[in-house]
Amino acid sequence: MATKYGAYAGKVMYVDLTTKTYKEYPVNDNDRKLFIGGKVLAARIIHDFVKGPMDPFSPENPIVITTCPLNGTPCPSSARFNVSTISPLTNLLTSSNCGGSFGAQLKKAGLDALIIVGKSEDFIYLDVSEDGIEFKDAEFLRGLTTGAAQELLPKKAGKFVIGPAGENLVKYACVVSDERAAGRGGVGAVFGSKNLKGVIADGKSMAPRYDQDKLTKLVRKWTKDITAHPLTGSQLPKLGTAGLLSTMQQKNLLATKNFKEGQYEGFRDICGEELAEKYLIKNKGCRSCPIQCGRVVEVNGKQVKGPEVEIMGLMGANILNNDLQKIIQWNYELDELGMDTISASGTIAFAMELNEKGIWDSGLEFGKIDNISQVIDDIAYRCGEVADQLANGSRWLSEKYGGKDFCMNAKGMELSAYQPRAAVGQGLGYAVSNRGGCHLNGGYLVVLEGLGLSIDQYTPFGKAALTVMFQDVMESVSAGGNCLFTTYAFFPPFLLNKPNWWLTRLVNKVFPYLGPVIGVANKHSKALKVNISSMLPQPLGITHATGIKMTMGSMMALGARGYNLERLINLRLGLDPKTDTLPKRLSKVLQDPDNKKSKVPIEKMVKQYYKARGWNKDGTIKKRTLKYFNILDLDDISKRPLEEQGERNIIPPKPKKDKKPKAAKKDAPDKAKSANADAKPTNAAPKKPLTEEEKQKRIEEALARKKAKEQANAEKKE
C-alpha cells in the first residue's frame, strides 16, 4: 500500500506465528496523518484487537512494533522506535521505546510497522527483508543472553531479541536492540510466550523525505540548539542521566529504603560524578544522537553500557547499597538476561521490606548485597521457589503476602527512582500513567519540581494541567521518533543556567499558576497553529520529512489523541479507574514529619487531572473529548480493503553545486559526526564476525548454562 507521504515505507505487515503466514495490514494515509507513528500509531492498531480483557500470554495478544517517520532521517536523536502490547505486569496496554538500530532497519526493509499475533509451535525468530518475512529456526539461540544472541545473528541486520528472562516469561522481561532496551512492561515475556526469540530486519531502500532541503536546514539548526543547550549539550553528555542522582539527594527526591525516605547518606559513593570520575570510559548513545548520554564502562574486562540514574537509585539508595561497582555489574547482568532494570530493582526492594517485617523470607535484606547477582540470575531462569515468585513482580507478591501499602507500584508497574512525596506532580503522573508507574509516561513533572526548574515541589496547584501538557508533548515527540530528551529545548537556557536570577525565581514561583491557562490550551490545542522551532522543532521535522503539516498545536493534539486512545484501550481491557492511585506510604504517610505537605494528596489531584483531561468524574472519557481528538467510533482497520493511497509528492533535493571537499577538521567533535551517522555511510571498520568455531562455543556455553540451571532448579524443588 503506497503512501503519498514522505519518510514512510508505506506498508504495515500482519504476521501470524501460528499459521506462519503474513499479509499486509491496510493502514492508510488518514491513519498516518492522524496517528503519525510510534506508540500513537501502535495504539491505533491495537485498538482493532482489544474488545475486552485479554490474557497477555494468549496468542491473540498482538505485539505491534512501529517505526516513526523520523527514524532513519538525520534529525537529531531520532532513532527511537516503539513496541506495544498488552503487558503481563499490568494486564494493560504497554508501550516501550528503544534506541537501537532495529527501527531504521525495519523501515529500510520496507515496513512502517509489524504486527505479530499467534504462537509458534517451534522456537523461531523472524527475518524481515525487502523480499518478505521468513520464519527461521531459533533453537541455536535458545537460552542465549541478549548480547550473545545478537552476535550470532547476521551482522548487517537490525536486531531485536529477548534473553533468558523473556523465554522464561519473567513478567518484566525486556527486548534489546544493540545495547538499548525496550524495557518496561514485560514486552520480552510476550515475545517468549509466542516462542519468538526476536526479529531481525535488513534492507537498503529508505523512503525519500518530503522536502530534503528544508529538513537539512532544520537539522543543522536543531543540532546546534541541542549542543548549545545546558542540559543536552553539557550535562547529559558529561554526566549522563546518572548526573541527576546528587540533585535528587539534595531535593529529597532520591527514593531510599523502598521509598521510606528521600535521602541516602551513602549517596556520594553511587552518584553520577563518581561514575564519571572512576568508571566512565567513553560516551555512547543511540544512532543519530548528538547528545550521546549513554555511558561505556567496564565489566569483567569488557566494555559495556553503563547504568542509568534509575538503577543507580533503585539498586543503590533504595536497597541501602553504596557499592557502585556492584550496580554496574547488576545493570550489565540485567541487560544481558533481558530484564527491566527498574521493575527488577523495585521488586527486590519490596521483597527486602517483606523480609524485614517478617512477612516473607526471601533471603533478601536491605544492605546485604552478596546474594543479589545470584538472585537476578535465578529470576531470569525462574530457578527455585523464591526467584519464581520474584519473577512475577512486586504487585503479585503483595497480593500473595500482603504489604500493599508499601508495595511501590502503580497498576502493577514498579515506580522509578524519584520519590514522589517531594514532587507531588510526579506522584500524580505515576498514578495516572497509562502504562503504570512510569516516570516518563506520567509526564516527568519532577523536571519542573527540582531537577531542572525549582517550582514548588509540594503544591498540587496547577500540577494536573501541567501533567496533561507534558504527557501529551512527550507522547507526540515519541510518535515522531525523537528521544524525549529533545524536549528539554522547551526550557529556555537562562532558566537552567541562572537559577538565582530574579526572573528565573519569578518563573519558578508563577509556573504552577499557569496551570489554568495551560489547561485551556490543552483542551483547544488544535487552535494553536504556530511553530517555534527553538522550543519545539519536532513538528517542523515531521512536516519536512513527511509533508504532513504539523504545528505546536497539532503536535499537542497528537499527544492527547494518543493518550486518550491508550486510556480507551485500557478501559476496554478492564482498567478500574480506582487504580489511578498510589500506595498508602506515598499518599497517607508524611515523608518529613515536620512538613505537612510532604505526601501526595492523590485523591484530590486525580479529580483535577480527570477534569483537565476532559474525562468524566468516574475516570471514563467524555464523548466530546474523543470527538475533538478524532478517536470517536474508530473503524477496524483489518476490515478495510487494500487500496492504493496515491502518488508520492516528494520535493526533489536541489542539485548540489560542485564544491571542493573540505579537509576534515582535526578536532571536530564526535557529536557532529554522530548527528549524521544515519545519513551517510561510515568508513568504520566492521566488527569481525564470529567464526564457526566461536559460534559453536557460544552455543555450547549457553546450553551448558541452561542445563546447570535446570539441574539447580530441580534440586531446589527437591
Binding site: P230, L231, T232, S234, Q235, L236, K238, L239, G240, T241, A242, G243, L244, S246, T247, Q250, R268, C271, E273, A276, E277, C293, V309, V447, L451, G452, F485, Y488, L496, N497, K498, P499, N500, W501, R505
Partner: protein
C-alpha cells in the same frame, strides 16, 4: 582571638568535574567571601560565575536565607552544584 571559620565545601554536578575534587575545606565568613576564596584557590570559576550555582548551606538553599550574604559558622557544610540537571 578571631574565630576559625573553617567550612566544608562539596562540589556536585559539572562543578565537581571542573574542580576535579569532591570536597575542600575553606575558611570564610559568608558565601560571598567563600566564592572569592575558591577563586583564589583554584581559578576555576569566578565569584560572578559561582553566583549562578545552586548553593546549599546545611541542606538549605541560600536563596531562602540571606542569599550571598548568608553567614557561615565553623563546621558548616556548603554544597555547590552546577545549575542544570535534567535526565
Amino acid at each position: 582571638m578571631e574565630e576559625n571559620n573553617l567550612v566544608t565545601v562539596e562540589f556536585f554536578g559539572l562543578y565537581r568535574l571542573a574542580y576535579k575534587k569532591a570536597c575542600v575545606k575553606v575558611e570564610a565568613k559568608n558565601i560571598e567571601e567563600l566564592f572569592q576564596k575558591l577563586y583564589e584557590m583554584d581559578d576555576v570559576h569566578t565569584p560572578k560565575e559561582l553566583r549562578n550555582s545552586i548553593v546549599l548551606l546545611n541542606g538549605k538553599n541560600i536563596m531562602e536565607l540571606r542569599k550571598f550574604k548568608t553567614k557561615l559558622k565553623p563546621n558548616d557544610n556548603v554544597v555547590i552544584m552546577s545549575p542544570a540537571s535534567g535526565g
